[in-house]
């Protein structure tokens, strides 16, 4: 008798879902102990719809094919000194920020998905998370390998791992993922699987990788798009998780909504760095941050939330504020880095006149009014030989850990400051969104390891800021930091390119 052909769904069920069994000798709750404390109610894991149905053999096959292509390009890139093809040496600073700030997040994503990939008692969800965990490990490793060649020719990459755990601005992305991983398994999935992967990573990878393509960086385009091909699976998983939680029990709806509010806010704060990379650090621009935000958040995210409305889920809280912020945050962030350029592990600069004009055109309602005058002033200072650096250390938001650089959206001349008192201590925030998050779980956020506080408390060496930079952060002071003008990076670049 000829065997009937199994369709992909039945095959996947037989090969994966049926592997689990009911325990007789131990309490299954002891094997999966973290499913209940968040208040999420799962009535039946069998209702889980597998978002994609890759068996391991297909996984190995397709992933190996991707890896083979990717590493062939890396090899060609380094053999041909591909770094010489980037548009100019300023561009490479975006990569430094990427390797020190983003790649280690991929590592935390690997750890987080391994954790939920072990702890969910439903086998379908577990296996999907395990595969994502493995993918995330792929991403951090391919990123390190892609940057390995740049590290040989530019400063600021060499201590990416050490810096990620310590440096003031890197505590922003780092605390974001520590926050998600230290939460329960379902919150982690809403935070990373859904909010971050489904909506926000598109903003991180797609415009930024197109930017790399536009700026002659073949290695980054290749790893970016190759990583992104896994992302499509991850997005599907993120959406499945949400639908599953919402369908399991009506009591889950308000919990999920609260997490969506929290993680979209936290995510948009995190993406400030990307906004700045796109508008200021890419010499050849692809699209403005504002436009990327409109395509990938407002349009794509809007469609998503319309789809979820049938479950009683609404747009994340503060969506109106977020919409206004797209006009401002990239400018506020780059100005902060420019003025703190001595304490950053990459180079900063004043946008060229052509770039200033581009920014004016992209941001007609805000740039000329609020931000261009700052740069014109900086240009004057620089021309006088008085390139401006702030001497103080910025106050950080207790929640997102970004310096208090944001302004009120209705009055961009006014810094946005909020505060809360918890157990007789006053804590400061950059926004209502961040204050809300703290007020909901103050016991958690009082633990924030705020780099500036830590420096003042003497926990990062010292006594001077320069000592902290060189000894605690392991920055090569005078080489990795300061303005691109006069930097060793610039000097080498000009030699390679024969620029006098």
């Amino acid at each position: 008798m000829a065997a009937k052909k199994l369709n992909i769904k039945d095959k996947y069920r037989l090969l994966t879902r049926d592997l689990d069994w009911d325990f007789s000798y131990e309490d299954r709750k002891q094997a999966f102990p973290y499913e209940e404390f968040e208040g999420i109610k799962i009535t039946d894991w069998n209702k889980w719809e597998d978002p994609f149905r890759l068996t391991m053999d297909s996984y190995w096959k397709y992933q190996a094919e991707k890896e083979k292509k990717l590493y062939a390009i890396f090899d060609a890139f380094s053999q041909n000194n591909g770094h010489l093809n980037v548009v100019d040496s300023r561009y490479v600073n975006a990569l430094k920020l990427f390797l020190t700030g983003v790649s280690p997040l991929e590592y935390q994503a690997y750890q987080g998905f391994a954790h939920v990939g072990r702890q969910f008692s439903g086998v379908g969800a577990r296996v999907a998370c395990q595969m994502q965990s493995l993918d995330e490990l792929r991403h951090v490793q391919t990123q390190i390998h892609a940057m390995s060649h740049y590290n040989k020719f530019f400063d600021g990459f060499q201590e990416f791992s050490h810096m990620h755990d310590r440096v003031w601005y890197l505590s922003v992305p780092r605390s974001f993922f520590c926050d998600a991983r230290s939460a329960g398994p379902f919150e982690f999935m809403v935070a990373i699987g859904f909010s971050f992967e489904y909506v926000l990573t598109n903003l991180l990878f797609v415009p930024f990788m197109s930017g790399a393509a536009h700026n002659g960086d073949m290695a980054t385009v290749t790893f970016g798009f190759s990583a992104q091909s896994d992302e499509a699976r991850h997005m599907t998983l993120g959406l499945e998780v949400i639908k599953f939680l919402l369908e399991q029990h009506e009591d889950n709806v308000p919990i999920v909504q609260k997490w969506i509010d929290k993680w979209f806010w936290r995510g948009t704060r995190l993406l400030t760095i990307v906004a700045m990379m796109m508008d200021y650090m890419l010499p050849n621009k692809v699209m403005s941050w504002k436009e990327a935000w409109e395509v990938y958040f407002e349009e794509a995210g809007g469609a998503l939330f319309k789809d979820l409305a049938r479950y009683g889920i609404r747009m994340p809280k503060y969506a109106e504020t977020i919409e206004k912020e797209k006009e401002h945050i990239s400018h506020q962030a780059w100005w902060t880095f420019y003025t703190h350029g001595h304490a950053a592990g990459f180079h900063t600069w004043i946008p060229s006149d052509k770039e200033l004009d581009w920014l004016s055109a992209q941001y007609p309602d805000t740039f000329d009014k609020y931000y261009r005058p700052l740069w014109e002033l900086a240009k004057e200072q620089e021309a006088k030989g008085e390139r401006f650096y702030t001497s103080g250390l910025p106050q950080l938001c207790q929640t997102c850990q970004i310096p208090m650089l944001f302004t009120e959206m209705d009055n961009p001349n006014q810094n946005s400051m909020r505060d809360s008192v918890f157990e007789d201590e006053r804590y400061h925030f950059c926004s209502d969104g961040c204050k809300d998050i703290f007020d909901e779980e103050p016991e958690k956020y009082v633990q924030s390891w705020l780099p500036v506080h830590q420096i003042f408390q003497g926990n990062c060496g010292g006594p001077g800021v320069e000592d902290v930079l060189s000894d605690y952060y392991k920055m090569n002071v005078g080489v990795d930091n300061m303005d691109i003008k006069g930097s060793p990076d610039e000097k080498r670049w000009n030699e390679w390119k024969g620029i006098a």
Binding site: Q141, Q158, S448
Partner: protein, 328 residues
Amino acid sequence: MTIEIKTSTLEPVRNTFAHIERRFGDKPATRYQEATYDVASEINFHYKPLWQPEYELNDTGRTAIVMEDWYAFKDPRQFYYGSYVQMRAKQQEVAESNYSFFEKRNLARLIPDEIQRKVIRLLVPLRHVEQAANLNNVYGSSLGYGTAITQALLYNGMDRLGNAQYLSRIGLILDSNSGDALNEAKRYWMDDAIWQGVRSYCEANICVEDWFESFVAQDAILDGLIYELVYLQFDQWLADNGGQDFSMLTEFIQNWNKDTNRWVDAVVKIAAAESDANKQLLEQWIGTWKAKALEALAPLAEEMVGPEALAIAEDALVKRLNKAGLLK
């Protein structure tokens, strides 16, 4: 476009990342090194996990094994993601052609019915053991310390899912894709006395808190015995009794075992060599879990091959452990 550059100006500023240089000196590093060493965070974790507030997110305290440097666990295969998936992709290509050859020629019809029954009862239920191994290895990957060992544990965890799927496909070949053989094998796993010892062992290990102990109980002890018993001895028995073609279907797992054993042995050896305290602890775990495993596997060994089979498997396992510096 040709760029004219004096070669001397293209000397690299450095050969590798600073943390790699601190470990291995100022020279070009391998992809394994750059992908592995000092990648995991070590300090300043901000928040204690709500699910384990007694630990940091990454914490060496989740096992009683103590290492001065958790990156001592170099993988002898030097697997990073890219080399790992490419190795498995090659192996799965061979497996795929074996499975499709077996199916296309309908080789099952040449295998005596009683041998087929025996495979459904004694081999196919091992897919559930692989499932337990998936959980235990992913557990170590998620709560272990240092990328050197945690990445290898994840690769191993995913391999076990792959193994479970290959074993399941043997069932599907024998039941012409109806799923009946898989259901039958699951009934043996759940109710047949012959499997209850192994099932109880798996359930107990899934609940073990110390991730390194769980690794020892699974990868070193149970897998070590099953490899010898099932994939060497039972395989030979099948070959001698008209079921030689099954070897085509278990070849993947056999080859997989060979490369994995190298890694498992290295991990055990490195942990034992670190200190007497580690060595004693490992021997204590090995003592407990080996006794349990032998008891659990005894009825299976007898039915698969015969009365001496288990002693032979134990002997082979002890030799491996001896080589790792244990039980001497």
